[in-house]
């Protein structure tokens, strides 16, 4: 059975997110980009409307929404601003390891406070200054001690970071044993020895704050360990399998915005006596943007549907993430050319799309890593 329709709740969420993106996000996006300022009011209102921490289960007082729901909402929000959506998306990235691997007790303690009372964020810390694509090379050290763990090391590129109530930190309990000794530990914001340094000078997504995390003899109690010793990398990768879908959905939102801006401009701007949309050089660009948009959306929703059905979704999430972010970058770049000089200045929203969506090709696994994931399965199947 194949059914491509959305349910009534999904349509309602889509409409809510679309109106929110249009009325609340888009009007302030340029300003937050220019100032590299955190959009406090937008995130607060998103929290009130139920657009933040969508994945917190109903048992913990959340909406308990699935990956497809998040993809539908994410596309709409990213249409307004990819940077602002990243704040919301990155919080669910911190929530997801607990949803997938936390005990009921851990979920109650860490997830319940995130919902129902204003904007509360979570974060996820895997990359390090010298280990990004290769998580088995992480050096952040977790040593057992009386009553729990002692953490030392540095984590890099942590979205939300210092603003989050807690961060799920991946570390190794034995650097000699790599992934087999990896652990996932929940580090609360008020832990002693924890400090943050904000990353400045990002090319895009400047409304979403990014931090380096410094762990200097940070103690966390034993029951902050998710799963068992040795589960850390598996927890990280299974989380990313799902959360790459929202990255893909955000990319779809950017691709749709690029097409929206380019087609609106192309039907108004005249050259050689007719609207430039009537010249095939421009019309074909618009057609290609639409082809990429539709293709990317269905890849994204398919991966989301697999995740919600409890099927392995990593392969399809990797395809969706790589395809949608490459497609969105291409569409943003083409939109710049459709607008010509106007596409290059920030009086129009198009140049920002290009700067913002470049990051979608990098975070939660570069598109090279997605290709590695995809190729491994293709090769494995050929060998079997």
């Amino acid at each position: 059975m194949i059914d491509f329709s959305l349910g009534p709740t999904q349509k309602e969420m889509q409409g809510l997110a679309r109106r929110f993106a249009r009325d609340r996000i888009a009007p302030v996006a340029a300003q937050h980009d220019r100032d590299a300022s955190y959009p406090t009011d937008v995130i607060d209102e998103a929290a009130r409307l139920g657009l933040l921490n969508l994945r917190v289960p109903e048992a913990q007082g959340g909406l308990g929404l699935g990956v497809l729901d998040e993809a539908i909402v994410g596309e709409e929000l990213a249409f307004g601003c990819m940077g602002i959506y990243t704040v919301l998306m990155a919080s669910d990235l911190g929530v997801t390891p607990l949803v997938l691997h936390g005990s009921e007790n851990q979920r109650d303690r860490f997830l319940t406070p995130l919902v129902g009372g204003g904007a509360r964020l979570a974060a996820f810390a895997l990359s390090e200054p010298d280990a990004g694509s290769d998580p088995a090379a992480i050096r952040t050290r977790a040593r057992r001690e009386e009553g729990g763990w002692r953490l030392n090391g540095r984590k890099m590129w942590i979205s939300n970071g210092a603003l989050a109530d807690f961060t799920v930190v991946f570390a190794t309990s034995d650097p000699e044993r790599g992934a087999a000794a990896s652990v996932a530990l929940v580090v609360p914001a008020d832990a002693d020895g924890l400090s943050w340094r904000e990353v400045h000078g990002k090319l895009g997504q400047r409304a979403a704050p990014t931090f380096e995390m410094i762990l200097d003899d940070v103690h966390v109690p034993e029951d902050h360990l998710l799963g068992e010793v040795g589960d850390g990398i598996r927890i990280a990768l299974s989380t990313l399998d799902q959360t790459r879908v929202p990255v893909a959905a955000g990319s779809v939102g950017v691709a749709r915005r690029a097409l929206h801006e380019a087609s609106r401009y192309a039907t108004e701007r005249k050259a050689f006596g007719k609207p430039i949309a009537q010249h095939q050089a421009i019309a074909f660009k618009l057609a290609d943007m639409e082809i990429r948009l539709q293709t990317a959306r269905w890849q994204t929703w398919h991966a989301a549907w697999l995740a919600d059905a409890g099927e392995p979704c990593g392969h399809h999430a990797a395809i969706a993430k790589a395809y949608a972010s490459d497609a969105a970058f291409e569409s943003a770049s083409e939109a710049v050319n459709v607008l010509g000089g106007y596409g290059y200045v920030d009086a129009y929203p198009v140049a920002k799309l290009l700067r913002d969506v470049k990051l979608n090709q990098i975070y939660e696994g570069t598109n090279e890593i997605q290709r590695l994931v995809i190729a491994r399965r293709v090769i494995r199947e050929a060998e079997a």
């Binding site: 088995a136 990002k202 050259a271 010509g340 290059y344 090709q361 570069t366």
Partner: protein, 413 residues
């Protein structure tokens, strides 16, 4: 001295199988000793004086007056202008060679260098009177003064025949009224070459070219545009409120301005192509050095084909782009018609700069997305090369028109 060129049809088409009319060896890929020496000199200057300040200029969107003056003293602001007018008296090949070096250090400097070397001096050389050349060229070619070019308008870019800025006859001169857009060095330059409509019924043949000093009554400048990149190459609108221009400051005959400018644009496009090669080269070198140091999965990442193949692709495309630039410059130096070759070089080199800066950023991953490395600036700076001096779409229009013409004339190569 170059053979004079005064219209789009001057000079033979470039047919590679024919003998070089200048009598040189036809295929030669090395630079002669003098040019190679001069290139080293320019490279040292660019890397020591410009590259270290590029990030700061970008952050502050500051016009780099001091380094531009130093470039003028080196002879880089009038490279192909004859020595008797204060220039360096070199050729287009030398010009694009130097421009690549400057662009590899900072694209904004290259844009500013290209603007003042370009149309203001080219139009004077090709179409100016001897009196105009003697009056205006020496300060421009020596870099004491800076020239700007005003063609595009808010509603007319690629379609220059839709220009609205009017020049109306007024006694011994004209009154100019209108708004020009995307003027590089607007408000900073000393001399503005402005195209305006003298005969609204004559289309492209009703447009004339005028020289206007920065302090002319009625000339004013908008605030600098907030651009994606090339922040130091300040861009503004230029407003003309009944600016009086005497007949003596019209270049060429009335109605010839647009056609003359379009012919001179060939050289400008080769310049943008050279600039694109320079930006691409800088990004590629940075990515290569990073890939040589960064370790993942226990190896230098350059040992993974996922990284080494993009690097190989970058190197290949940059080489191809530079060869197209050099061919167009070489042909222009010999008086060939290079409309097609210049557009091909600009199209391919600017698309290459887009590809290379993006692929290079990807090699660096998250680090490349921050200002700790220059790649994000290279990417932003490179993006406009696909837009200015004719978008990539317009280059395809030009190439398509030329190849159809070749087909019709039996000149297909």
């Amino acid at each position: 001295m170059l053979p004079p060129r005064s219209g789009a049809e001057v000079g033979p088409p470039l047919v590679p199988s024919r003998h070089d009319p200048a009598g040189g060896a036809f295929v030669r890929f090395d630079l002669d000793d003098d040019l190679a020496h001069a290139r080293r000199h320019v490279r040292t200057f660019a890397q020591e004086r410009i590259a270290p300040i590029a990030a700061q200029l970008d952050a502050e969107a500051r016009y780099p007056r001091e380094t531009l003056r130093a470039m003028g003293e080196m002879g880089l602001m009038g490279v192909a202008t004859p020595e008797r007018y204060g220039g360096s008296g070199m050729d287009v090949l030398a010009y694009v060679t130097f421009l690549e070096e400057i662009a590899a250090a900072d694209a904004s400097h290259a844009t500013l260098m290209a603007v003042t070397n370009g149309l203001p001096q080219k139009m004077l050389l090709d179409h100016g009177s001897e009196a105009q050349r003697e009056a205006y060229l020496p300060p421009l070619a020596s870099g004491r003064q800076f020239g700007a070019f005003c063609l595009s308008e808010p509603q007319a870019g690629s379609d220059a025949a839709a220009l609205r800025t009017r020049a109306v006859r007024d006694g011994s001169g004209y009154r100019l009224r209108g708004v020009k857009a995307w003027v590089t060095a607007g408000g900073e330059a000393d001399l503005y070459l402005v195209l305006a409509v003298t005969d609204p019924d004559a289309g492209a043949r009703g447009i004339s070219a005028f020289l206007i000093p920065a302090d002319a009554d009625g000339l004013s400048f908008g605030a600098p545009e907030r651009k994606l990149g090339q922040h130091a190459a300040v861009t503004t609108t230029v407003r003309l409120d009944d600016v009086f221009v005497p007949d003596a400051d019209r270049i060429g005959r009335e109605g010839e301005g647009f056609v003359a400018a379009m012919t001179s644009l060939d050289g400008g496009r080769i310049g943008i192509a050279a600039q694109s090669v320079g930006i691409a080269r800088a990004a590629y070198h940075h990515a290569l050095a990073y890939a040589d140091e960064r370790i993942a999965f226990g190896r230098r990442i350059r040992e993974f084909q996922g990284v080494s193949f993009p690097l190989a692709e970058m190197a290949t495309r940059i080489d191809a782009a530079r060869l197209l630039v050099q061919r167009a410059a070489w042909a222009m130096d010999r008086g060939y018609r290079v409309t097609k070759e210049a557009s091909m070089a600009k199209l391919h080199a600017s698309e290459t700069a887009g590809f290379v800066t993006d692929a290079a950023l990807q090699v660096l991953g998250g680090a490349g997305y921050t200002r700790d490395h220059p790649i994000e600036r290279y990417l932003r700076d490179a993006r406009v090369t696909r837009i200015y001096e004719g978008t990539s779409e317009i280059q395809r229009v030009v190439v398509a028109r030329q190849i159809v013409r070749e087909l019709e004339r039996g000149e297909l190569t």
